[in-house]
Symmetry: C2
Subunit: 409 residues, 2 copies
């Protein structure tokens, strides 16, 4: 029952992990329309200018700006209307001096024009003549060729997480199929003789398998594809066989370990057997989540997460989610955060990073982060939390009223 | 070409909309494991205590706390070990005075015990005897029956958006199937003679249909199911027919209208024809997005969004996304936000809410929100933005350095 393992800070542990892990990206080709929240795996350049022709941004008259200089209601500029540019067609007109063409929002600006007068600033004086009541500057009320994006410019770089507007931007350029990162397959193994599947009745002494399902949802949210390997009995051979199969079939393996020392020792031995370099870290200076195992086995990340639901989630976000991002080749994204003030003192031992579950409370003077009471063994500690506050390694705790950043779940 | 419509503030427009719209919730029954980010449509109570038996949270010995009072390394408490509680089984032992039982993390605490001594604080003195070196308090190192959640307590209320931990919490109670809100079907119609499908070559004067795809992704992200009705020609009969079909088949209709005045007038007439009360709002005091149409037709929301991509997205988040949340019966969620300081002066006319697209820049003194240059006609204005800053109705602009809340996309 050795409890003696080197405890790493999260930063050191992650650096060690990164030194031993070289992610290899699997990709797939999909329709741009289906790519919401996927990660782009190629750097794309614009095949043409956007727009490809100068466009009106208002309803009005395309003109040469110089023909309107000095125009006012008292002394309007008189222009001959030589035609209309129909929507969706190339302008067939070329404007001469003193001429104007009716254009609609989004329509093409004809050659000879370099601005658009809003219809509200004109007055029809004859079937084919208008008076312009205000001058327009060159380029006013129009979009230039390539103003949205220039031909050959980088549209999006590999690693970009695609939001609705990225999909729109690609479609605008006719890029209707793209190469994205395939979802990393993340195997999840639960262990523990007390753990039973959630759809079966529980006997005294048994608990339902929470972590497989919480972790599967976390994997999905991080962009991966969870593969559930079920509950492995407390038996070294069974765990070895399941771990070997998972390691062969998936891109990453997560052991949701039974939390007793003997389980952990067994997990370490089994993980080490999956390939070199094996276990890199056994123990993080984090609360909750100290008994974490971080390993790279034959090129694939393997994590042993603590059995407590709160610890499992904290450690997942700390190491497994970033590892999934590496497998996706994703640029670091902005996570949702809320600035708040801490509603109670929070104690923390120096040399340890604490992750405190908090509920957000809107008070008159802004958001307050109220630490959620409840042990890390309790899933409802997480259910009652809106997010998490990190107490830095050597802060020795945080006082009530301290401004904190709440990372939303 | 009437430009004369009453302009509402967003708050007034939303209040008017809510007075005329009574959402009817469609539901479906699904596996809890598949419910990530779905909206719960029933209020659930705990069918039993969680946990159902007292559990150890450490490896050690279950004891009566009173048997350890005063124990110290110099004067340890001597206890008889009467057995071990195997994992996953009911404890078969009942402790008498001066007795202890070996327990593992997560294991059941036997009757007669009310605390657990960590194994590190004991010393084995015989095959069946230990010395306890430190006293434990009643309840220490264990979880009580119902400490996670009590039988009959409300687990989750209808309207809750399900995160990974909610899925875990339900599974923990054996709730493996739940009733959730069905995804609202949101019809998207694009109009404009200049608009062509993205997979076809464009001719001079034509542009690809950006908004159908951006809006579809926005609908998906808001929890709805987009139904694309394609590009409707600039023809009143064609638009009427398509709108009527969409209104019959979907729970909500979005017209991504051509942006010229004549298109807008046609949209208003067509929407009014879909049923009472018809168009409620035509014009919002918002930039970008003024020419917005808000309607309720025969019980279903119908929105006419401006054709500009930036306007369309701003207005979608302002009215369409909240309407989807109403159709889902979802409680208001916390959106991701970042507190930042404005990197440039932003002008705004009083009496108008401005939505400014910003890029976040990490500087030494924290986040700065840099307004993205670029017209609201340009999709890459959105692509280059991390989020949006709201300039309140009568602020008359914001000065450089002002603290602002950036709502992330």
């Amino acid at each position: 029952m050795s409890e003696f393992f080197t405890v790493y800070t999260p930063a050191d542990a992650w650096a060690l992990f990164c030194r031993h892990f070289t992610p290899s990206l699997r990709t797939q080709r999909i329709a741009t329309a289906d790519a919401l929240e996927r990660v782009l795996a190629e750097t794309l350049t614009a095949p043409h200018d956007l727009p490809e022709f100068p466009r009106a941004t208002v309803d009005g008259y395309a003109v040469a700006a110089s023909d309107t200089y000095g125009a006012s209601p008292g002394l309007p500029a008189y222009l001959q209307v030589v035609g209309e540019v129909p929507m969706g067609r190339a302008a067939q007109i070329t404007l001469g001096v003193g001429e104007a063409a009716l254009v609609h929002t989004g329509g093409m600006i004809p050659p000879g024009a370099d601005a658009v007068v809003m219809v509200e600033n004109t007055q029809t004086v004859a079937a084919d003549a208008i008076e312009v009541l205000r001058p327009v500057a060159e380029g006013e009320n129009m979009v230039q060729v390539g103003e949205d994006i220039r031909r050959g410019a980088t549209v999006l770089e590999a690693g970009r997480i695609l939001r609705p507007q990225e999909i729109g931007g690609l479609v605008a350029l006719g890029i209707t199929a793209i190469t994205v990162a395939a979802r990393p397959r993340v195997a999840i193994l639960s262990t523990g003789d007390e753990v039973v599947p959630p759809d079966r009745p529980v006997q005294p002494g048994q608990v339902r398998d929470i972590n497989s399902y919480t972790l599967a949802a976390l994997v999905r949210r991080a962009g991966g594809e969870p593969l559930l390997y079920g509950i492995i009995p407390d038996d070294r051979t069974a765990l070895e066989e399941a771990a070997r199969r998972a390691h062969a079939e998936a891109d990453m393996v997560i052991l949701s370990a039974g939390s007793s020392v003997s389980y952990r020792d067994m997990s370490v031995a089994v993980i080490d057997g999956l390939g070199a370099p094996g276990v890199l870290v056994h123990g993080l200076s984090v609360r909750p989540g100290k008994p974490t195992i971080i390993a790279v086995c034959a090129g694939k990340p393997v994590f042993g997460l603590p059995g407590n639901p709160v610890s499992a989630m904290v450690i997942f976000e700390l190491v497994a989610a970033p590892a999934i991002r590496l497998l996706l080749g994703a640029q670091p994204g902005l996570r949702g955060q809320v600035q708040a003030r801490l509603a109670r003192n929070v104690a923390s031992a120096p040399g340890r990073e604490d992750y405190v579950q908090v509920r957000l409370e809107a008070r008159e003077d802004g958001w307050w982060a109220v630490p959620v009471l409840g042990k890390s063994n309790l899933i409802y500690t997480l259910v009652n939390a809106d997010g998490v506050v990190q107490v830095p390694l050597d802060a020795g705790g945080l006082r009530e009223g301290t401004p904190v950043t709440v990372t939303l779940y």
